[in-house]
Protein backbone atom coordinates (compact mmCIF):
# COMPACT_ATOMS: atom_id res chain seq x y z
CA UNK A 1 0.00 0.00 0.00
CA UNK A 2 1.45 3.29 -1.08
CA UNK A 3 1.53 5.82 1.74
CA UNK A 4 -0.30 9.05 1.19
CA UNK A 5 1.79 12.25 1.21
CA UNK A 6 0.17 15.04 3.26
CA UNK A 7 2.87 17.68 3.24
CA UNK A 8 5.04 18.27 0.23
CA UNK A 9 7.62 21.07 0.30
CA UNK A 10 10.00 22.07 -2.49
CA UNK A 11 12.62 24.79 -2.25
CA UNK A 12 10.50 26.77 0.16
CA UNK A 13 12.22 30.07 0.98
CA UNK A 14 11.42 33.06 3.19
CA UNK A 15 13.42 36.24 3.21
CA UNK A 16 13.10 39.22 5.51
CA UNK A 17 15.00 41.91 3.66
CA UNK A 18 18.54 40.63 3.27
CA UNK A 19 18.12 37.92 5.83
CA UNK A 20 17.13 34.49 4.59
CA UNK A 21 15.25 32.86 7.43
CA UNK A 22 14.32 29.74 5.51
CA UNK A 23 16.59 28.74 2.66
CA UNK A 24 15.15 26.47 -0.04
CA UNK A 25 14.01 23.59 2.14
CA UNK A 26 12.40 20.50 0.66
CA UNK A 27 10.78 17.50 2.34
CA UNK A 28 7.69 15.32 2.41
CA UNK A 29 5.58 14.09 5.30
CA UNK A 30 3.41 10.96 5.09
CA UNK A 31 -0.01 10.44 6.59
CA UNK A 32 0.02 9.37 10.23
CA UNK A 33 3.64 10.21 10.66
CA UNK A 34 5.12 12.03 13.65
CA UNK A 35 7.47 14.40 11.95
CA UNK A 36 9.99 16.18 14.17
CA UNK A 37 11.26 19.54 13.10
CA UNK A 38 14.42 20.24 15.05
CA UNK A 39 16.76 23.16 15.24
CA UNK A 40 18.37 25.65 17.52
CA UNK A 41 16.52 28.82 18.44
CA UNK A 42 16.46 31.07 15.40
CA UNK A 43 17.21 28.28 12.96
CA UNK A 44 14.00 29.03 11.06
CA UNK A 45 11.67 26.33 12.41
CA UNK A 46 8.83 28.60 13.40
CA UNK A 47 9.07 30.65 10.22
CA UNK A 48 8.91 27.52 8.10
CA UNK A 49 5.93 26.26 10.05
CA UNK A 50 4.09 29.58 9.70
CA UNK A 51 4.35 29.29 5.93
CA UNK A 52 2.86 25.82 6.02
CA UNK A 53 -0.12 26.88 8.12
CA UNK A 54 -0.91 29.85 5.89
CA UNK A 55 -0.18 32.80 8.13
CA UNK A 56 3.05 33.80 6.41
CA UNK A 57 3.58 34.08 2.67
CA UNK A 58 6.64 32.29 1.24
CA UNK A 59 9.12 34.33 -0.78
CA UNK A 60 9.58 31.50 -3.24
CA UNK A 61 9.29 27.73 -3.59
CA UNK A 62 6.33 25.42 -3.50
CA UNK A 63 4.41 23.76 -0.72
CA UNK A 64 1.30 21.64 -0.53
CA UNK A 65 -0.42 20.87 2.73
CA UNK A 66 -3.27 18.35 2.82
CA UNK A 67 -2.98 18.51 -0.99
CA UNK A 68 -3.76 22.24 -1.07
CA UNK A 69 -1.34 24.81 -2.38
CA UNK A 70 -0.18 27.36 0.22
CA UNK A 71 -0.44 30.22 -2.26
CA UNK A 72 -3.76 29.37 -3.81
CA UNK A 73 -5.80 27.77 -1.07
CA UNK A 74 -4.60 28.89 2.35
CA UNK A 75 -8.16 28.79 3.63
CA UNK A 76 -8.69 25.17 2.57
CA UNK A 77 -5.49 24.30 4.36
CA UNK A 78 -6.75 25.99 7.52
CA UNK A 79 -9.86 23.81 7.53
CA UNK A 80 -7.70 20.69 7.52
CA UNK A 81 -5.08 21.54 10.07
CA UNK A 82 -4.84 22.20 13.77
CA UNK A 83 -2.27 24.47 15.36
CA UNK A 84 -0.90 24.98 18.79
CA UNK A 85 1.51 27.85 19.18
CA UNK A 86 4.55 28.41 21.27
CA UNK A 87 2.95 31.46 22.81
CA UNK A 88 0.04 30.35 24.83
CA UNK A 89 -3.08 30.18 22.69
CA UNK A 90 -6.13 29.74 24.87
CA UNK A 91 -7.97 32.72 26.32
CA UNK A 92 -6.91 33.20 29.91
CA UNK A 93 -10.06 35.05 30.83
CA UNK A 94 -12.40 32.35 29.56
CA UNK A 95 -13.13 29.01 31.20
CA UNK A 96 -12.02 25.71 29.70
CA UNK A 97 -15.57 25.06 28.57
CA UNK A 98 -15.89 28.49 27.00
CA UNK A 99 -12.61 28.08 25.15
CA UNK A 100 -13.78 24.77 23.72
CA UNK A 101 -17.09 26.30 22.66
CA UNK A 102 -15.38 29.25 21.04
CA UNK A 103 -12.78 27.37 19.04
CA UNK A 104 -15.25 24.66 18.09
CA UNK A 105 -17.58 27.42 16.95
CA UNK A 106 -15.15 29.22 14.75
CA UNK A 107 -14.13 25.95 13.10
CA UNK A 108 -17.75 25.55 12.13
CA UNK A 109 -18.79 22.71 14.44
CA UNK A 110 -22.45 22.56 15.38
CA UNK A 111 -23.61 23.00 18.98
CA UNK A 112 -24.27 19.31 19.17
CA UNK A 113 -20.84 18.37 17.89
CA UNK A 114 -19.22 20.82 20.29
CA UNK A 115 -21.09 19.32 23.25
CA UNK A 116 -20.17 15.79 22.27
CA UNK A 117 -16.53 16.71 21.78
CA UNK A 118 -16.42 18.49 25.07
CA UNK A 119 -17.84 15.53 26.98
CA UNK A 120 -15.36 13.24 25.30
CA UNK A 121 -12.49 15.52 26.24
CA UNK A 122 -13.67 15.90 29.80
CA UNK A 123 -13.71 12.15 30.20
CA UNK A 124 -10.44 11.45 28.42
CA UNK A 125 -8.43 14.10 30.19
CA UNK A 126 -10.31 13.93 33.49
CA UNK A 127 -11.35 17.56 33.35
CA UNK A 128 -14.53 17.17 35.43
CA UNK A 129 -13.20 19.33 38.23
CA UNK A 130 -11.79 22.15 36.17
CA UNK A 131 -14.00 22.45 33.14
CA UNK A 132 -15.63 25.57 34.55
CA UNK A 133 -12.40 27.14 35.83
CA UNK A 134 -10.70 30.07 34.15
CA UNK A 135 -7.75 29.00 32.07
CA UNK A 136 -5.59 31.53 33.89
CA UNK A 137 -6.02 29.53 37.09
CA UNK A 138 -4.68 26.27 35.64
CA UNK A 139 -1.11 24.96 35.82
CA UNK A 140 0.87 25.17 32.60
CA UNK A 141 0.76 21.42 32.02
CA UNK A 142 -3.00 21.37 32.03
CA UNK A 143 -3.20 24.38 29.79
CA UNK A 144 -1.02 22.70 27.21
CA UNK A 145 -2.91 19.45 27.22
CA UNK A 146 -6.14 21.34 26.78
CA UNK A 147 -4.66 23.54 24.05
CA UNK A 148 -3.64 20.39 22.19
CA UNK A 149 -7.09 18.90 22.50
CA UNK A 150 -8.61 22.18 21.32
CA UNK A 151 -6.35 22.08 18.26
CA UNK A 152 -7.86 18.65 17.50
CA UNK A 153 -11.50 19.63 17.95
CA UNK A 154 -12.33 19.73 14.26
CA UNK A 155 -10.55 16.42 13.46
CA UNK A 156 -7.79 17.97 11.36
CA UNK A 157 -5.70 15.81 9.02
CA UNK A 158 -2.51 17.40 10.29
CA UNK A 159 -1.64 19.03 13.58
CA UNK A 160 1.17 21.54 13.82
CA UNK A 161 2.74 21.88 17.25
CA UNK A 162 5.20 24.70 17.83
CA UNK A 163 7.40 23.76 20.83
CA UNK A 164 4.40 22.39 22.68
CA UNK A 165 6.22 21.23 25.78
CA UNK A 166 8.23 24.33 26.57
CA UNK A 167 8.48 24.88 30.30
CA UNK A 168 6.60 21.82 31.59
CA UNK A 169 7.86 19.10 33.88
CA UNK A 170 9.08 15.69 32.57
CA UNK A 171 6.01 13.80 33.78
CA UNK A 172 3.64 16.14 31.97
CA UNK A 173 5.85 15.99 28.91
CA UNK A 174 5.55 12.23 28.99
CA UNK A 175 1.77 12.44 29.22
CA UNK A 176 1.74 14.93 26.44
CA UNK A 177 3.67 12.60 24.16
CA UNK A 178 1.30 9.81 24.97
CA UNK A 179 -1.47 12.03 23.69
CA UNK A 180 0.54 12.67 20.53
CA UNK A 181 1.05 8.95 19.92
CA UNK A 182 -2.58 8.22 20.40
CA UNK A 183 -3.53 10.94 17.95
CA UNK A 184 -1.04 9.70 15.38
CA UNK A 185 -2.35 6.15 15.72
CA UNK A 186 -5.75 7.42 14.74
CA UNK A 187 -4.26 8.56 11.44
CA UNK A 188 -3.59 12.20 12.20
CA UNK A 189 -0.26 13.52 11.00
CA UNK A 190 1.79 15.33 13.62
CA UNK A 191 4.24 18.03 12.68
CA UNK A 192 6.15 19.09 15.78
CA UNK A 193 8.97 21.54 16.37
CA UNK A 194 11.06 21.11 19.46
CA UNK A 195 14.48 21.69 20.82
CA UNK A 196 14.29 18.88 23.39
CA UNK A 197 16.47 16.25 21.78
CA UNK A 198 15.06 13.43 23.86
CA UNK A 199 11.69 14.20 22.32
CA UNK A 200 13.25 13.79 18.91
CA UNK A 201 13.69 10.11 19.74
CA UNK A 202 9.91 9.72 19.92
CA UNK A 203 9.45 10.94 16.33
CA UNK A 204 9.10 8.67 13.31
CA UNK A 205 11.38 10.90 11.31
CA UNK A 206 13.20 14.11 12.13
CA UNK A 207 14.67 16.92 10.14
CA UNK A 208 17.37 19.11 11.60
CA UNK A 209 17.52 22.74 10.56
CA UNK A 210 20.67 24.81 10.85
CA UNK A 211 20.72 28.44 9.69
CA UNK A 212 17.65 28.13 7.55
CA UNK A 213 18.63 24.90 5.82
CA UNK A 214 17.69 21.30 6.45
CA UNK A 215 20.98 19.60 7.20
CA UNK A 216 19.68 16.12 7.88
CA UNK A 217 16.42 14.22 7.49
CA UNK A 218 15.83 10.61 8.43
CA UNK A 219 14.59 8.33 11.18
CA UNK A 220 16.31 8.86 14.52
CA UNK A 221 17.85 5.41 14.26
CA UNK A 222 19.38 6.03 10.84
CA UNK A 223 20.63 9.45 11.86
CA UNK A 224 22.39 8.06 14.88
CA UNK A 225 24.05 5.41 12.77
CA UNK A 226 25.03 7.84 10.08
CA UNK A 227 26.62 10.29 12.50
CA UNK A 228 27.92 7.55 14.77
CA UNK A 229 26.20 9.12 17.73
CA UNK A 230 24.77 7.61 20.88
CA UNK A 231 21.78 9.91 21.06
CA UNK A 232 19.94 12.49 19.03
CA UNK A 233 21.58 15.09 21.21
CA UNK A 234 24.98 14.09 19.87
CA UNK A 235 23.66 14.12 16.32
CA UNK A 236 22.40 17.59 16.82
CA UNK A 237 25.59 18.89 18.38
CA UNK A 238 27.67 17.44 15.55
CA UNK A 239 25.47 19.08 12.95
CA UNK A 240 25.08 22.38 14.67
CA UNK A 241 28.81 22.81 15.20
CA UNK A 242 29.39 21.88 11.60
Amino acid sequence: MKEETVIKVENLTKQFGDFTAVNAISFEVKKGEIFGFLGANGAGKTTAMKMLIGISNPTSGEAEVASFNVYKNPNSIKKNIGYMSQKFALYDDLTVKENITFFGGIYGLTRKQINEKRQLLVEELGLQEIVNNLVSSLPLGWKQKIAFSVALLHNPKIVFLDEPTGGVDPITRRQFWEMIYKTANQGTTIFVTTHYMDEAEYCDRVSIMVNGKIEALDTPKNLKEKYKAKSMNDVFLKLARG
Binding site: N75, K79, E98
Partner: protein
Protein backbone atom coordinates in the same frame (compact mmCIF):
# COMPACT_ATOMS: atom_id res chain seq x y z
CA UNK B 1 -23.03 33.37 10.23
CA UNK B 2 -22.79 30.93 13.08
CA UNK B 3 -19.10 31.66 13.36
CA UNK B 4 -19.83 35.32 13.95
CA UNK B 5 -22.15 34.42 16.80
CA UNK B 6 -19.40 32.45 18.51
CA UNK B 7 -17.05 35.41 18.33
CA UNK B 8 -19.70 37.76 19.65
CA UNK B 9 -20.41 35.41 22.53
CA UNK B 10 -16.74 35.22 23.38
CA UNK B 11 -16.23 39.00 23.27
CA UNK B 12 -19.19 39.56 25.55
CA UNK B 13 -17.88 36.99 28.00
CA UNK B 14 -14.54 38.74 28.08
CA UNK B 15 -16.10 42.16 28.58
CA UNK B 16 -18.29 41.04 31.43
CA UNK B 17 -15.60 38.97 33.07
CA UNK B 18 -13.15 41.83 33.45
CA UNK B 19 -14.24 43.22 36.79
CA UNK B 20 -11.73 46.03 36.60
CA UNK B 21 -13.15 47.26 33.32
CA UNK B 22 -16.87 47.00 33.94
CA UNK B 23 -17.17 50.08 36.13
CA UNK B 24 -15.00 52.03 33.74
CA UNK B 25 -17.23 51.11 30.84
CA UNK B 26 -20.58 51.50 32.48
CA UNK B 27 -20.39 53.58 35.63
CA UNK B 28 -17.74 56.14 34.84
CA UNK B 29 -19.41 57.57 31.75
CA UNK B 30 -22.72 57.93 33.55
CA UNK B 31 -21.15 59.61 36.57
CA UNK B 32 -19.25 61.94 34.28
CA UNK B 33 -22.35 62.78 32.32
CA UNK B 34 -24.21 63.65 35.48
CA UNK B 35 -21.44 65.67 37.08
CA UNK B 36 -19.53 67.25 34.25
CA UNK B 37 -22.55 68.50 32.35
CA UNK B 38 -22.89 71.06 35.13
CA UNK B 39 -19.36 72.28 34.66
CA UNK B 40 -19.60 73.20 31.03
CA UNK B 41 -20.96 76.69 31.09
CA UNK B 42 -19.72 79.85 29.44
CA UNK B 43 -22.08 81.95 31.49
CA UNK B 44 -20.13 84.63 33.24
CA UNK B 45 -21.34 85.10 36.78
CA UNK B 46 -19.98 85.46 40.31
CA UNK B 47 -17.36 87.82 38.90
CA UNK B 48 -14.80 88.54 41.60
CA UNK B 49 -15.33 92.26 42.02
CA UNK B 50 -13.41 94.74 44.14
CA UNK B 51 -13.30 98.52 44.34
CA UNK B 52 -11.34 101.49 45.57
CA UNK B 53 -13.50 104.33 46.72
CA UNK B 54 -11.51 107.51 47.23
CA UNK B 55 -14.62 109.67 47.07
CA UNK B 56 -16.66 108.02 49.79
CA UNK B 57 -19.77 109.92 48.85
CA UNK B 58 -23.40 108.90 48.75
CA UNK B 59 -23.10 108.70 44.94
CA UNK B 60 -20.13 106.36 45.07
CA UNK B 61 -21.79 104.18 47.67
CA UNK B 62 -24.89 103.99 45.56
CA UNK B 63 -22.87 102.91 42.55
CA UNK B 64 -21.27 100.13 44.54
CA UNK B 65 -24.63 98.99 45.82
CA UNK B 66 -25.71 98.59 42.20
CA UNK B 67 -22.88 96.15 41.64
CA UNK B 68 -23.71 94.42 44.86
CA UNK B 69 -27.29 93.96 43.74
CA UNK B 70 -26.33 92.47 40.41
CA UNK B 71 -26.24 88.69 40.18
CA UNK B 72 -23.22 88.84 37.94
CA UNK B 73 -20.92 90.40 40.48
CA UNK B 74 -19.63 89.23 43.82
CA UNK B 75 -18.40 92.31 45.64
CA UNK B 76 -15.52 90.82 47.56
CA UNK B 77 -13.35 93.62 48.85
CA UNK B 78 -12.79 97.31 49.22
CA UNK B 79 -9.16 98.23 48.90
CA UNK B 80 -7.55 101.37 50.28
CA UNK B 81 -5.06 101.78 47.48
CA UNK B 82 -4.29 100.86 43.94
CA UNK B 83 -1.20 99.01 44.95
CA UNK B 84 -2.99 96.64 47.27
CA UNK B 85 -5.77 96.10 44.76
CA UNK B 86 -3.31 95.28 41.99
CA UNK B 87 -1.50 92.82 44.18
CA UNK B 88 -4.82 91.14 44.97
CA UNK B 89 -5.44 90.79 41.25
CA UNK B 90 -2.00 89.33 40.72
CA UNK B 91 -2.75 86.77 43.36
CA UNK B 92 -5.96 85.96 41.57
CA UNK B 93 -8.21 87.01 44.44
CA UNK B 94 -10.17 89.46 42.28
CA UNK B 95 -10.80 89.86 38.57
CA UNK B 96 -12.27 93.37 38.44
CA UNK B 97 -11.14 96.56 40.16
CA UNK B 98 -13.44 99.56 39.99
CA UNK B 99 -11.69 102.75 40.96
CA UNK B 100 -13.88 105.67 41.98
CA UNK B 101 -11.85 108.87 41.89
CA UNK B 102 -12.07 111.57 44.54
CA UNK B 103 -14.49 114.32 43.58
CA UNK B 104 -16.62 111.74 41.82
CA UNK B 105 -19.83 113.17 43.18
CA UNK B 106 -18.76 116.79 42.80
CA UNK B 107 -17.69 116.35 39.17
CA UNK B 108 -20.85 114.57 38.33
CA UNK B 109 -23.02 117.33 39.76
CA UNK B 110 -20.90 120.17 38.41
CA UNK B 111 -19.58 118.93 35.05
CA UNK B 112 -22.24 116.29 34.51
CA UNK B 113 -19.43 114.02 33.51
CA UNK B 114 -16.82 111.97 35.33
CA UNK B 115 -14.56 109.00 34.86
CA UNK B 116 -14.26 105.76 36.75
CA UNK B 117 -11.31 103.42 36.37
CA UNK B 118 -12.10 99.84 35.47
CA UNK B 119 -9.41 97.19 35.47
CA UNK B 120 -10.35 93.74 34.19
CA UNK B 121 -8.24 90.59 34.27
CA UNK B 122 -8.39 89.72 30.57
CA UNK B 123 -6.57 86.40 30.46
CA UNK B 124 -9.88 84.80 29.58
CA UNK B 125 -10.53 87.28 26.81
CA UNK B 126 -14.10 86.21 26.13
CA UNK B 127 -15.13 86.40 29.77
CA UNK B 128 -13.42 89.77 30.09
CA UNK B 129 -15.43 91.06 27.15
CA UNK B 130 -18.66 89.94 28.76
CA UNK B 131 -17.63 91.37 32.12
CA UNK B 132 -17.01 94.67 30.40
CA UNK B 133 -20.49 94.61 28.88
CA UNK B 134 -22.06 93.98 32.29
CA UNK B 135 -20.11 96.83 33.89
CA UNK B 136 -21.21 99.17 31.14
CA UNK B 137 -24.80 98.13 31.56
CA UNK B 138 -24.71 98.91 35.27
CA UNK B 139 -23.07 102.28 34.65
CA UNK B 140 -25.66 103.08 31.97
CA UNK B 141 -28.55 102.32 34.20
CA UNK B 142 -26.91 104.30 36.99
CA UNK B 143 -26.61 107.24 34.60
CA UNK B 144 -30.24 107.00 33.67
CA UNK B 145 -31.44 106.78 37.25
CA UNK B 146 -29.25 109.63 38.36
CA UNK B 147 -30.66 111.66 35.55
CA UNK B 148 -34.27 111.11 36.40
CA UNK B 149 -33.72 111.54 40.12
CA UNK B 150 -31.65 114.64 40.05
CA UNK B 151 -32.83 116.86 37.28
CA UNK B 152 -36.02 117.57 35.52
CA UNK B 153 -35.93 116.40 31.94
CA UNK B 154 -35.32 119.46 29.80
CA UNK B 155 -38.06 120.10 27.33
CA UNK B 156 -35.96 119.43 24.32
CA UNK B 157 -37.64 119.57 20.98
CA UNK B 158 -35.59 116.75 19.53
CA UNK B 159 -36.30 113.35 20.99
CA UNK B 160 -33.87 110.51 21.07
CA UNK B 161 -34.66 108.04 18.32
CA UNK B 162 -34.34 104.68 19.86
CA UNK B 163 -33.97 101.29 18.20
CA UNK B 164 -35.28 98.60 20.46
CA UNK B 165 -33.81 95.19 20.02
CA UNK B 166 -35.81 92.27 21.28
CA UNK B 167 -33.74 89.14 21.67
CA UNK B 168 -35.56 85.94 21.18
CA UNK B 169 -33.78 82.68 21.89
CA UNK B 170 -35.26 79.81 20.00
CA UNK B 171 -35.10 76.14 20.97
CA UNK B 172 -33.64 77.09 24.35
CA UNK B 173 -35.49 80.08 25.71
CA UNK B 174 -33.71 80.30 29.02
CA UNK B 175 -30.24 79.85 27.52
CA UNK B 176 -29.84 76.73 29.58
CA UNK B 177 -26.34 75.41 29.06
CA UNK B 178 -27.27 71.93 30.10
CA UNK B 179 -29.69 71.63 27.23
CA UNK B 180 -26.70 72.23 25.05
CA UNK B 181 -24.01 70.33 26.91
CA UNK B 182 -25.72 67.16 28.06
CA UNK B 183 -26.27 65.79 24.54
CA UNK B 184 -22.78 66.91 23.59
CA UNK B 185 -21.03 65.28 26.51
CA UNK B 186 -23.08 62.15 25.91
CA UNK B 187 -21.71 62.11 22.38
CA UNK B 188 -18.16 62.39 23.69
CA UNK B 189 -18.60 59.57 26.16
CA UNK B 190 -20.14 57.20 23.64
CA UNK B 191 -17.33 58.00 21.23
CA UNK B 192 -14.54 57.60 23.77
CA UNK B 193 -15.73 54.25 25.05
CA UNK B 194 -16.26 52.74 21.63
CA UNK B 195 -13.03 54.13 20.17
CA UNK B 196 -10.81 53.08 23.03
CA UNK B 197 -12.27 49.61 23.36
CA UNK B 198 -12.21 48.82 19.66
CA UNK B 199 -8.78 50.41 19.21
CA UNK B 200 -7.31 48.16 21.85
CA UNK B 201 -9.20 44.99 21.08
CA UNK B 202 -7.34 43.41 18.19
CA UNK B 203 -3.93 44.71 19.16
CA UNK B 204 -4.47 43.16 22.59
CA UNK B 205 -4.97 39.74 21.04
CA UNK B 206 -1.91 40.38 18.92
CA UNK B 207 0.13 41.05 22.02
CA UNK B 208 -1.17 38.04 23.94
CA UNK B 209 -0.70 35.76 20.96
CA UNK B 210 -4.26 34.51 20.59
CA UNK B 211 -4.70 36.36 17.31
CA UNK B 212 -2.26 33.94 15.67
CA UNK B 213 -4.39 31.07 16.84
CA UNK B 214 -7.42 32.67 15.22
CA UNK B 215 -5.51 33.38 12.03
CA UNK B 216 -4.83 29.68 11.47
CA UNK B 217 -8.53 28.90 11.57
CA UNK B 218 -10.55 29.03 8.37
CA UNK B 219 -12.51 32.01 9.66
CA UNK B 220 -13.11 34.78 7.13
CA UNK B 221 -11.87 38.30 7.72
CA UNK B 222 -15.27 39.90 7.66
CA UNK B 223 -16.65 37.31 10.07
CA UNK B 224 -13.92 38.06 12.56
CA UNK B 225 -14.29 41.81 12.23
CA UNK B 226 -18.07 41.85 12.45
CA UNK B 227 -17.94 39.49 15.39
CA UNK B 228 -15.45 41.66 17.19
CA UNK B 229 -17.14 44.97 16.51
CA UNK B 230 -20.75 44.05 17.11
CA UNK B 231 -20.43 43.93 20.92
CA UNK B 232 -18.96 47.42 21.01
CA UNK B 233 -21.57 48.68 18.61
CA UNK B 234 -24.26 47.40 20.90
CA UNK B 235 -22.47 48.81 23.91
CA UNK B 236 -22.43 52.25 22.32
CA UNK B 237 -26.15 52.11 21.69
CA UNK B 238 -26.85 50.97 25.25
CA UNK B 239 -24.74 53.81 26.58
CA UNK B 240 -26.60 56.25 24.38
CA UNK B 241 -29.92 54.99 25.68
CA UNK B 242 -28.91 55.29 29.32
CA UNK B 243 -27.52 58.75 28.62
CA UNK B 244 -30.69 59.89 26.89
CA UNK B 245 -32.72 58.65 29.80
CA UNK B 246 -30.57 60.68 32.18
CA UNK B 247 -30.76 63.70 29.90
CA UNK B 248 -34.52 63.49 29.91
CA UNK B 249 -35.22 62.55 33.51
CA UNK B 250 -32.45 64.31 35.38
CA UNK B 251 -31.63 67.31 33.25
CA UNK B 252 -35.00 67.72 31.63
CA UNK B 253 -33.42 68.20 28.23
CA UNK B 254 -36.20 68.38 25.65
CA UNK B 255 -36.25 65.63 23.06
CA UNK B 256 -38.16 67.34 20.30
CA UNK B 257 -37.25 65.23 17.30
CA UNK B 258 -37.62 61.60 16.42
CA UNK B 259 -35.85 59.10 18.63
CA UNK B 260 -35.85 56.63 15.79
CA UNK B 261 -33.91 59.05 13.64
CA UNK B 262 -31.37 59.55 16.41
CA UNK B 263 -30.85 55.84 16.77
CA UNK B 264 -30.58 55.44 13.03
CA UNK B 265 -27.89 58.08 12.90
CA UNK B 266 -26.06 56.80 15.97
CA UNK B 267 -25.93 53.25 14.71
CA UNK B 268 -24.15 54.45 11.59
CA UNK B 269 -21.98 56.84 13.54
CA UNK B 270 -20.66 54.16 15.88
CA UNK B 271 -19.61 52.17 12.84
CA UNK B 272 -17.35 55.07 11.85
CA UNK B 273 -15.71 55.11 15.27
CA UNK B 274 -15.30 51.35 15.37
CA UNK B 275 -13.78 51.44 11.89
CA UNK B 276 -11.26 54.03 13.06
CA UNK B 277 -10.49 51.98 16.15
CA UNK B 278 -9.96 48.84 14.14
CA UNK B 279 -7.81 50.67 11.64
CA UNK B 280 -5.60 51.92 14.46
CA UNK B 281 -5.51 48.41 15.89
CA UNK B 282 -4.25 47.02 12.59
CA UNK B 283 -1.42 49.47 12.30
CA UNK B 284 -0.01 49.12 15.76
CA UNK B 285 1.91 46.37 17.49
CA UNK B 286 1.24 47.19 21.12
CA UNK B 287 -1.69 48.42 23.12
CA UNK B 288 0.43 51.33 24.21
CA UNK B 289 0.82 52.60 20.67
CA UNK B 290 -2.84 52.02 19.91
CA UNK B 291 -3.79 53.98 22.98
CA UNK B 292 -1.57 56.94 22.21
CA UNK B 293 -2.93 57.20 18.72
CA UNK B 294 -6.54 56.88 19.86
CA UNK B 295 -5.87 59.50 22.51
CA UNK B 296 -4.32 61.84 19.97
CA UNK B 297 -7.31 61.66 17.69
CA UNK B 298 -9.77 61.81 20.54
CA UNK B 299 -8.39 65.08 21.90
CA UNK B 300 -8.48 66.60 18.42
CA UNK B 301 -11.97 65.29 17.78
CA UNK B 302 -13.25 66.66 21.08
CA UNK B 303 -11.72 70.09 20.95
CA UNK B 304 -12.55 70.65 17.31
CA UNK B 305 -16.08 69.32 17.41
CA UNK B 306 -17.83 72.62 17.85
CA UNK B 307 -19.09 71.45 21.21
CA UNK B 308 -17.04 73.75 23.39
CA UNK B 309 -15.97 76.41 20.94
CA UNK B 310 -17.74 77.44 17.73
CA UNK B 311 -16.46 75.98 14.47
CA UNK B 312 -17.43 79.09 12.47
CA UNK B 313 -14.85 81.09 14.36
CA UNK B 314 -11.99 78.83 13.36
CA UNK B 315 -9.71 79.78 10.49
CA UNK B 316 -10.74 78.27 7.17
CA UNK B 317 -8.09 75.58 7.09
CA UNK B 318 -9.17 74.42 10.53
CA UNK B 319 -12.80 74.34 9.43
CA UNK B 320 -11.75 72.11 6.57
CA UNK B 321 -10.10 69.73 9.01
CA UNK B 322 -13.30 69.54 11.03
CA UNK B 323 -15.01 68.08 7.96
CA UNK B 324 -13.11 64.90 8.84
CA UNK B 325 -14.19 64.99 12.45
CA UNK B 326 -16.98 62.48 13.04
CA UNK B 327 -17.83 63.98 16.43
CA UNK B 328 -18.67 67.26 14.70
CA UNK B 329 -21.43 65.54 12.74
CA UNK B 330 -22.72 63.71 15.77
CA UNK B 331 -22.89 66.90 17.82
CA UNK B 332 -24.67 68.67 14.97
CA UNK B 333 -27.17 65.89 14.50
CA UNK B 334 -27.91 65.59 18.23
CA UNK B 335 -28.58 69.30 18.45
CA UNK B 336 -30.64 69.36 15.31
CA UNK B 337 -32.79 66.38 16.08
CA UNK B 338 -33.03 66.52 19.86
CA UNK B 339 -33.39 70.24 20.37
CA UNK B 340 -34.77 71.56 17.10
CA UNK B 341 -36.78 68.60 15.94
CA UNK B 342 -35.05 68.38 12.60
CA UNK B 343 -36.25 65.55 10.38
CA UNK B 344 -34.67 63.10 7.99
CA UNK B 345 -34.30 65.61 5.16
CA UNK B 346 -32.56 68.19 7.30
CA UNK B 347 -29.94 65.82 8.60
CA UNK B 348 -29.50 64.12 5.25
CA UNK B 349 -26.16 65.86 4.53
CA UNK B 350 -24.69 64.73 7.85
CA UNK B 351 -26.20 61.29 7.48
CA UNK B 352 -24.74 60.85 4.01
CA UNK B 353 -21.29 62.02 5.02
CA UNK B 354 -21.30 59.76 8.06
CA UNK B 355 -22.41 56.81 5.97
CA UNK B 356 -19.63 57.38 3.43
CA UNK B 357 -17.19 57.78 6.29
CA UNK B 358 -18.37 54.50 7.84
CA UNK B 359 -18.02 52.60 4.59
CA UNK B 360 -14.59 54.09 3.93
CA UNK B 361 -13.19 53.44 7.41
CA UNK B 362 -14.52 49.91 7.68
CA UNK B 363 -13.42 49.15 4.15
CA UNK B 364 -9.92 50.33 4.99
CA UNK B 365 -9.97 48.40 8.22
CA UNK B 366 -10.97 45.15 6.54
CA UNK B 367 -8.44 45.65 3.76
CA UNK B 368 -5.63 46.44 6.14
CA UNK B 369 -6.35 43.48 8.40
CA UNK B 370 -3.88 40.85 7.34
CA UNK B 371 -4.27 37.24 8.26
CA UNK B 372 -0.88 36.54 6.69
CA UNK B 373 2.37 38.41 6.96
Amino acid sequence: MNTILYIIQKEFRQIFRNKGMLPIIFVLPIVQLVILSNAATFEVKNIKFSYIDTDNSSFSRELISKFDASTYFNVLAKYPSNKIANSAMLKGDVDVILEIPSNFERNLLKDKKTDVGVTINAIDGAAAGVTNVYINQILQSFNKNAQSNLIQPSNTSIKYQNITSIPSFWFNKTLNYKTFMVPGILVLLVTMITLFLSGMNIVREKEIGTLEQINVTPIKKHELIIGKLFPFWLLGLVLLSVGLLIAKLLFNVPIVGSLLLMYLYTSIYILVILGIGLFISNFTDTQQQAMFISWFFMVIFILMSGLFTPIESMPNWAQLITELNPIKYFVEVMRMVMLKGAGFNEILPQLTKTLIYAIAMNGLAVLSYKKTT
